[in-house]
Symmetry: C2
Amino acid sequence: MVYKEFTKQEIIDMDMYYRIQLINSLGGFKSICLIGSKNKEGQTNLGIFNSVFHLGSAPALYGFVCRPANRERHTLENILETKNYTINQVHHTFYKQAHQTSAKYQRETSEFKKVNLNEEYIGDIHAPFVKESKIKFGLELEETHNMMNKNTILIGKVIHVKVEENLLDEKGFIQLDKADTITGSGCDAYYKTNFLERLAYARPENEDA
Amino acid sequence: MVYKEFTKQEIIDMDMYYRIQLINSLGGFKSICLIGSKNKEGQTNLGIFNSVFHLGSAPALYGFVCRPANRERHTLENILETKNYTINQVHHTFYKQAHQTSAKYQRETSEFKKVNLNEEYIGDIHAPFVKESKIKFGLELEETHNMMNKNTILIGKVIHVKVEENLLDEKGFIQLDKADTITGSGCDAYYKTNFLERLAYARPENEDA
């Protein structure tokens, strides 16, 4: 098998667009979620993110990466202002609409209207959920961490969960392929999935993997 | 459609095992990677992680979450000691072996041997790569960030990339389904993927998503 290799210096010297594609492809498949937020004036915002990660279950915590605030970052501004947001899974039926939220709309434009997805409100949670999403949760901002490249990692506590009942098994597991949740790679590639299996808790004695 | 909902208090009061499954399922599909490391004495370690995320491409940075060091965490200890590690994509041919690396082996046991994957060394990079992986990269530790739940986020700079040449297009993009890279959800579910498409850079004027 023929391999292509890039050294530290070649990565630094690489054409910027080539490096963006290459580096974004290296880490495997990505979570694709829509993050809903609303400022104090009631202006809603919806943005697609591919860096949502699970941090813990007790307390229930999720993180995601926000790009530098050197231009308008409506999601980041709204969350810092209200401490409140929603994360909504993206399914095959609306992944193109989800992608379109990445366009640079003006602050006074709601991506919900522009891409034709519906706002949904639950209890006293300030931020909008995506009505079309089958698996979604509300969060309260707990921590922010500043990264060396001026990105910010936001950590939030899960304060509400809403899931289509037929996707949830008796032990709390949700089979995401049944929901037609999509995954992504690079900056702009989308995929469906086929379930392989769930593997048993690994112990040192089961070595015949 | 019938939904199941869980309030903030219900999430706190939930059976621990149910909460682990539920909360782990919420964020969508996950990157599944093997992280290779080696301590100063030459003892290698290989661990499966589902929290690898892209942080930036200039400089080229990746992050991942390490659980609390309240018991032996060989990957974390090795990386803090040597500032050096590798991230290797997991393909359909060896995902069961990758899963088995999550068993609690003793420090003096190398998961490479136990699960029958091969170490590969590139240049002067101290940590082992996974020979069987088609897409892999070496990193230098740049930053650590302590989270409220005692997890640590490690941020590393990409210092070497090795990719099967036939997977890489002329613009730097790698089509991961062609590599049979797998994705995961929850704690233990694995999936193959089917490519849908790459979408064009979104602009406000293309509203017909």
